[in-house]
Symmetry: C2
Subunit: 192 residues, 2 copies
DNA sequence: CGCAACGGAGAACGATCGTTCTCCCACGGA
DNA sequence: TCCGTGGGAGAACGATCGTTCTCCGTTGCG
């Protein structure tokens, strides 16, 4: 017998892989059951509806994302390098073989208009990422308006890498970020 | 009787509004029929499958996008301002009441793994946009690596505006673009 | 050892979807 | 006027989906 916690984890992990790879609506609950190795009854006992499962998958991804970003930025010391480390983290992600874009963006586009809970879950993730970037920007001593600019670069790199299939979008975004950071930290030039 | 061309347009226009507002898979062909005011038989005579209709809708959107970008950039003279005009165009788009992100990104996330034709149609659109930005960058006399940076900013602004519901992502991206353009056009500073 | 509760496997159900087919009316040529 | 073609309205069909239910074996406890 499998206890509830590991069953939850198996279900969420299997559903995550399937949803991310094919899209949510293209994956039936029976496919999740087969991949997770548990019964449908068990799934519905732990997640009352597919919507609940989707939300749980997204929250699980949020935790993995937060841990990855935290580890990437903790590995370097300089606050400026922490900001750039975010884009290095993206670069490592984009070259994974099953990379298919940002699961939150994908889910929002597919379900944002249908499921308010999915929409708010995605919004919360994006909002917390923006907050984290804003904190790094603050630590680096740069003006606050740099933060949304870097966040936009990160978002754009994800969709560009996914659609064009070009992982170097991370490097291009990193270069742009480096320029923006440098300008933001440089004292205002004396007018000619 | 409606001739084929106007029927096509009615179908594509209605399907576009429905697909964009709710997502493709959430809209049945019967809903398209009701919104377009034509018979199902007619729809399937003009578009052999839903996949064909989706591709036609995306191609229709590509034409509208190209026309909008072209008009926005044609309204200004300076090549540098043409680049910034792209973001002004985005700003005007983001405040439309039914704005729900980039239809290409949304469709790719929802159907990219299921329909190769949809995937390539989306890729073609993004690729042609990148080419256009690259041409503007070239006209402005800036190095070529500026183009993907600006394109990434545009992509990120679209998803940020859609998910966070904050249309000012266009202005933030525009500010970042202005900085990147300025740096790219400025001669290399003499080292201190 | 007996029984009751639980979980697995999978059938079943109702809804919906993409697609096709049927029926019927309107209209244009001999 | 009569007939044949074409298109509209909508039923029909087969597949699939989310969700529930049935049946049965197992297991833990008295």
């Amino acid at each position: 017998m499998i206890d509830d916690d590991t069953a939850r984890e198996q279900i969420v992990t299997a559903a995550d892989r399937l949803f991310y790879g094919r899209g949510v609506q293209a994956v039936g609950m029976d496919a999740v059951r087969a991949a997770a190795g548990v019964s449908l009854k068990r799934i519905y006992a732990l997640f009352p509806s597919k919507d609940d499962l989707v939300v749980a998958v997204l929250q699980h991804r949020t935790q993995r994302w937060n841990a990855g970003i935290l580890a990437a930025t903790a590995a370097v010391g300089d606050p400026r390098d922490k900001l750039l480390a975010v884009f290095d983290f993206l670069a490592g992600w984009f070259v994974e073989e099953d990379f298919r874009g940002c699961a939150f963006i994908n889910s929002f586009g597919e379900l944002g208009a249908l499921s308010p809970r999915v929409a708010t879950t995605v919004r919360d993730q994006k909002s917390s990422f923006q907050d984290y970037v804003a904190a790094l920007v603050h630590d680096a001593g740069a003006p606050a308006n740099l933060a949304p600019q870097l966040a936009i670069l990160a978002e754009g790199a994800q969709t560009t890498a996914a659609i064009a299939g070009r992982p170097d979008a991370a490097h291009q975004a990193r270069d742009a970020a480096a320029t923006l950071i440098e300008v933001a930290l440089r004292p205002a030039p004396t007018p000619a």
